[in-house]
Subunit: 411 residues, 2 copies
């Protein structure tokens, strides 16, 4: 197996090298889709892939592919992740999966030579949705679900149209009349966990069995705005009072339900939000996730009933608006099985787990047998300059990928 | 007694006339201290008072006084209220007390001639604190507690210094080396209730016995910001979860405590306030009011203990910062007694009550025997263009004031 110290050193060196494209004076990395820094990063990666002897090409929208040709060129095992970052992000989220892919292919090529099937690494154009109100632009173009019509009217936060930014960076739309590629036999994405389960359980690698589904809601409670001094308690329809009970009860219910259900009230707002006015409105969001769709549906029903019950008790009006409803995405059991078996054989310190965050893998999974590997995130931090994974864990992740790609492409 | 229909008509006509100075294109009245509209209103009132035959003068800071001289000119019974408004305020809050004062003095002068003591109406410069971060500038200058040093460095929301605005409107600082006037034997302020107690109980006039004391707090709960998908419920230190329990419990405790205690959580904020991030911080305010200081202190102790207990249970850190602590202000029992007796004699439909809002009267009370009269506010609305009092109730308030001034100045 690959030398851990060497792999750790190479991985971190390459991540730091890549982080120069988009280093933000305010901290961390800001590398938004089709920006100058994004173009520089993709071209630097292209040069690196070429130097490693891979066949390199961009697709129409700017996904970058580097291929180690196999004996059978009709079958491809794909790995990689996204090159874009959030504003002031870390150096690992996305790039680690690309760097791991290139290093793994190099290792396999040097050690075993030509594979049976192509092994390909992809640096995907976009996943985060940080510049434009659109996510997974990279992976959705590969599997053919992205539509030109979905982005033609959108602009970034400065008003720059998507289409203009795309053209300026040298890319364009794919031909939607053409069938997407059908050579992909598996996709394996390596990514940081963005949670603290691996760290807490002292594991170096996570083998992901599914990506959670999620529902998101906005709850709007309408009472009556009143003077905080002149309105006796019994006269009030205090929206924040009702909302506080709803929030407390629904999070308590989620805690009782137990793993893998998670529920978050991330945003809350009072109106008019003045210290001496009884709030007439309270607005909060709910984010519910679980690996099982039925569990999401039944928990949603429970909290909806509870919210309506509390609303009635308080004599306020409440609307619950569901604006996201994404199904859980199971990873391919066969690919997961191969990866887990290989982790065991190689003595890796791994844990079988689910992903609570969304990833490009969920876009691939309906079309290509897909699996994911995680490495620990220090304190679960991501989307932040403080994002960190220990170099030895980075190396373990690459080793797990090497094992997976070997099984998938050489056997 | 005065003809109700005539009084109602006169009062509403004068309020509408006064509301033209500061009519805001965005709605309601905006008449901020030392603004062009404010200067116009004070000069228009000066002219009206002069036309009614009163001796009229401004003090140094811009409080406007109109006096009906009595036999004994060393003793003055004062009435009136503030001429300034909040941004987009109503036409009653403040001006009603000035208009009522002028109409009452006219009535008494016509009916009974020269009083024993001076009766004076004041149109006070400022009470709301809507332009500069300073409240009660008018009344505090009359009783001599306003200090030049408190406003010399302050500016309005556009950066205009207080001193510059004051000078431009033609006014300046009072001479702080001079003793404040000592002829004031009573102050009676008429004001809208800004609550819905009178409306709910179908009363036309409120005889105020005290103004509540209040304490205001900011509570800051610090947990840990985490990814909403990848952080199991058991790993979280969710600041909004803890805060929701605190808010629900403390408002429930206030409801149990009962009148006249009121407690409001008017502002609440989550940080980072993102739908898919477990909030690391929650910040909310508490406003506690009661007519009895001991009750405020003991309720504060109870909720502080409860908040700290919940904080400990949740494993979060909580700070409670008290940034306002104003004592209740009792009205003068003798003046209140005279007013109530007179309301009874005149068959007014009145209620003895406290004020949950602050008023100029609380500034006068420590120096001058002070009382207040309320009229109903439709749905308790104030500081809003929808502020409304029925003309017949406006007339009842003026009648109550006439009775009070008669007893205080003619007997």
């Amino acid at each position: 197996m690959a030398d851990q110290k060497m792999l750790a050193k190479e991985t971190i060196e390459k991540l730091e090298w890549l982080s120069q494209f988009g280093k933000d004076p305010e901290g961390g990395v800001t590398r938004l889709l089709y920006s100058k820094e994004w173009v520089q990063a993709q071209h630097a990666l292209k040069e690196w892939m070429e130097n490693e002897g891979l066949d390199v090409h961009f697709d129409e929208v700017g996904n970058l592919f580097g291929t180690l040709k196999g004996k059978n060129t009709d079958e491809t095992i794909l790995t990689g992740s996204h090159v874009d970052s959030v504003k002031n992000g870390g150096i690992y989220d996305g790039p680690y999966g690309i760097v791991a892919g290139i290093l793994a292919i190099n290792y396999l090529n040097e050690k075993y030579g030509e594979p049976l099937r192509n092994i390909e690494v992809v640096s995907m154009a976009e996943e985060e949705g940080s510049r434009f109100p659109y996510t997974f632009w990279g992976s959705k173009n590969i599997v053919g679900t992205a539509k030109r019509s979905e982005v033609e009217q959108i602009t970034d936060f400065k008003g720059v149209p998507f289409v203009e930014a795309m053209k300026e960076s040298g890319f364009g739309f794919r031909d939607e009349s053409k069938e997407p590629r059908n050579d992909l036999k598996a996709f394996v994405e390596v990514h940081i966990e963005q949670g603290s389960v691996l760290e807490t359980e002292h594991k170096s690698v996570g083998v992901v069995t599914s990506i959670v589904g999620q529902r998101r809601f906005t709850v709007e409670v309408t009472g009556e705005a009143n003077h905080a001094g002149t309105t006796p308690m019994g006269y009030r329809k205090d929206a924040v009072y009702a909302a506080s009970q709803m929030v407390f009860d629904l999070i308590s219910m989620a805690r009782k339900a137990g793993d893998p259900l998670v529920t978050t009230v991330g945003k809350i707002e009072a109106q008019p939000n003045i210290v001496n006015v009884v709030p007439g409105k309270a607005i909060f969001t709910i984010d519910v996730r679980h690996t099982d769709k039925d569990a999401i549906v039944s928990f949603t029903e429970e909290i909806t009933a509870k919210i309506n019950e509390i609303s009635k008790e308080h004599g306020v009006e409440t609307t619950i608006n569901m604006w996201m409803d994404a199904d859980p995405v199971p990873m391919d059991p066969k690919v997961v099985g191969i990866i887990e078996q290989k982790c065991k054989e190689n003595g890796l310190n791994y844990k079988v787990m689910h992903s609570g965050a969304g990833h490009d893998s969920q876009i691939f999974a309906p079309f290509v047998p897909t699996a994911m590997l995680f490495v620990p995130s220090l304190k679960g931090i991501s989307h932040n300059p403080a994002e960190y994974t220990a170099p030895e864990d980075l190396a373990e992740g690459v080793k797990a990928l090497i094992g997976a790609l070997y099984e998938l492409a050489y056997k």
